[in-house]
Amino acid sequence: MEKPSYNTDIVRGFVNWSIIWGLVAVLVGVIVSLQMVNPDLNFPPYLTFGRLRPIHTNAGIYGWGVGFIFATFFYMAQRLCKTPIWSPKLAKFQLWFFNATIIASAVTLLMGFTTSKEYHEMEWPIDLMIIVLWVMFAINIIMTIIKRREEQMYISLWYMMAAIIGIAVLFVVNSAAVPAALFKSYSAYAGTNDANVHWWFGHNAVAMALTAPPLAMFYYFLPKSTGVPIYSHRLSIISFWSLIFMYLWTGAHHLLWTPVPDWVQTLAMAFSVMLIAPSWGSVINGYLSMNGQWHQMRDNYLVKFLILGLTFYGLQTLQGPMQSIRTFSAFIHYTDWVPGHIHMGTMGWVSMIGFACIYYLVPRIYGNEIFSIPLANLHFWLILIGQLIWSISMWVAGVLQAGMWNAMNPDGSLTYTFMETMVEMYPYWWARAIGGLIYLIGVLIFIYNLYMTVQKGKKSSSTLTEAEGRA
């Protein structure tokens, strides 16, 4: 079969921009973590914690996360389908529109135009932009899949399609609002309904944006990096169906003990615990793929990122279900434990996979060998240590805070005032800021390494030079 000429320009574009937005996300993250320990670092009206925190989360999810989803999906879809991208022009326009959307989001959020809905703060005109962006992307990927020259579809394509549909459904439903001004709208749902719809969105955004796509990447880039196939394609299929079935029932575990109907909470709790099975189906599949290849953990830095990332996915999907149990939620919900959990998923699982993909992609789309493997290893250790400091300090803080909130005297009165519990958090918030700073240094080394790869890297041997074939 003649080798199709794949479009690598578009992959380059999304790789570059996703890294820039990723840097913004981490940088703003460090800033808000410092605002937590010193309120004098708030500069009203624009640079306050309340306005910057959504910029941190949305830059991370929509800029970095969705950015490298675009990059890797365009790369994987072309190769798994053995056909060039359906419309390179549309993809190119999508890149510009993507950046326009992210910039518009950042600017409007700084101005205080927000819906307040976590991970979906952008006001309705930006929501419309995101919908247009997603539709463009969906058409291009789906058409590429339909035009494929490889009849049977590899599991990564399954996860990609589920993610494309899932995000579309979630985003549109949760965006429903009545505009009151150009940048002000009121939710179409009220009170308890709004809460239930929102966390159905919130938790499944985790499923469809931060689980399914990284799984698609993992299933593609692990075998590509190790040179051996995954352990079982059939196991990945069982995990696929059960994962996309079970996730959608679990949103209300964010709302345990709130006025949301009890039975919705109970279903969410039960399905959250059951979700361990499909999650670990993928984890075990990944580990077994390493059978006889574990030495690559030492020699192959890509594998290090991928397998550590998968390990954090495994830990995340044990800790998550644990938190979804009513009694445990009663204790740790609303404390700093929860950000500790989220950041293991984002800084550990999602970003580690993202870094691995980009390390794999850059030599292939630029035709240069990676500038420095020792620097890539340093990057690995910095983000690993940074993330562990971040999450562990928050777990300890959360347990301490929860214990103090619940502490009662023998006469049935509370032992501590709220402020007595809050001031105990300062040392942990400092530790978290330092963890974030270490992570930021890791990201800067990553960017330096890639920059040098593109500028000064040796031309790679013929096996890597797909760049020659780019359209």
Partner: protein
């Protein structure tokens, strides 16, 4: 089959994700916010309250403050009556939050007088020395846009009258956010309902206490009372406490139950022991009577 047919696979995947969606997300609409859910006394926001709510959203207050009290012992003690679905029917969007860097605000309405909120928003650390809440004094510089607020009330279909709109002309954003704070959780009369009626005779367990015993109680006073009544009981937001002539039992009851209509919070969550400590501290420590017993 579907492993070779992408459209079929996507249709099946859609059905799969819709199952849980329909049951846990769409179905609850048939129960939630229906008539059965309604609570008498829960009314829509007034123009100034709604504007305060929109400012609360604009400033991202929900990133640090939750607005639901869970039916858990320690939580009800700390914040008040647990939250009920019917209390939120006019909330678009919901503001329950997910993190308590600061305390829950679902029941903050009526807990403090307005002057407490103004002072606290101006400079949180002047009242709560080690808080990490930023200053919001600058909200005072922004007048309200009556016309825009009226339009928003129309969009929400909330009732209002002309005097309410006219009154906005002289108000600023700080007034609005304080008005919103005072509305929160206050539509049901839980504060009076949960007041404790003290049965039987109150006996001061520390009768005749000396200054040395009372010294450590100063921190209880500072943590709970000083923000309003001053470091030296001289009074500020709350009245001066030096030289008042309440009986011990009376003073105990006021601290324990608060004065719901007068903006004095209840301190029953401290437990009767600490409330007695405060009673004795206020009555004797700074009034030179401690040693006379």
């Amino acid at each position: 089959m579907w492993e070779k047919k992408p459209v079929l696979l996507m249709v099946l995947a859609t059905c799969t994700i819709l199952a849980g969606t329909i049951i846990t997300m769409i179905l609850p609409f048939t129960w939630v916010n229906t008539k059965a859910d309604r609570i008498e006394g829960v009314v829509p926001y007034t123009p100034i309250e709604q504007e305060g709510r929109d400012i609360y959203i604009r400033e991202g207050c929900n990133n640090c403050h939750s607005q639901t009290v869970r039916p858990l012992v320690a939580e009800v003690l700390r914040y008040g009556e647990y939250s009920k679905s019917g209390e939120f029917v006019y909330d678009r969007p919901f503001l329950w939050g997910s993190k308590r860097t600061g305390p829950d605000l679902a029941r903050v309405g009526g807990k403090y007088p307005d002057s407490w909120h103004y002072k606290h928003m101006d400079s949180p650390r002047s009242m709560v020395p080690r808080t990490n809440m930023p200053d919001y004094k600058w909200l005072r510089d922004n007048p309200l846009d009556a016309e825009a607020i009226q339009h928003k009330m129309d969009v929400l279909d909330f009732p209002y009258n002309n005097p309410q709109i006219a009154a906005l002309q002289t108000k600023n954003e700080m007034d609005a956010i304080v008005a919103y704070m005072q509305k929160l959780g206050n539509d049901i009369n839980w504060r009076k309902a949960t007041q404790v009626e003290i049965i039987g005779e109150l006996v001061n367990p520390y009768a005749g206490v000396d200054h040395i015993t009372m010294e450590p109680w100063e921190s209880v006073y500072r943590n709970n009372c000083a923000a309003c009544h001053g470091e030296h009981l001289e009074g500020e937001i709350g009245p001066e406490l030096v030289g008042d002539n309440y009986e011990e039992e009376e003073l105990f009851k006021i601290i324990y139950n608060g004065i719901p209509d007068g903006g004095m919070p209840s301190f029953s969550a401290l437990g009767s022991d600490k409330v007695w400590q405060l009673t004795n501290f206020i009555k004797y420590y700074n009034q030179g009577e401690g040693e006379s017993h």
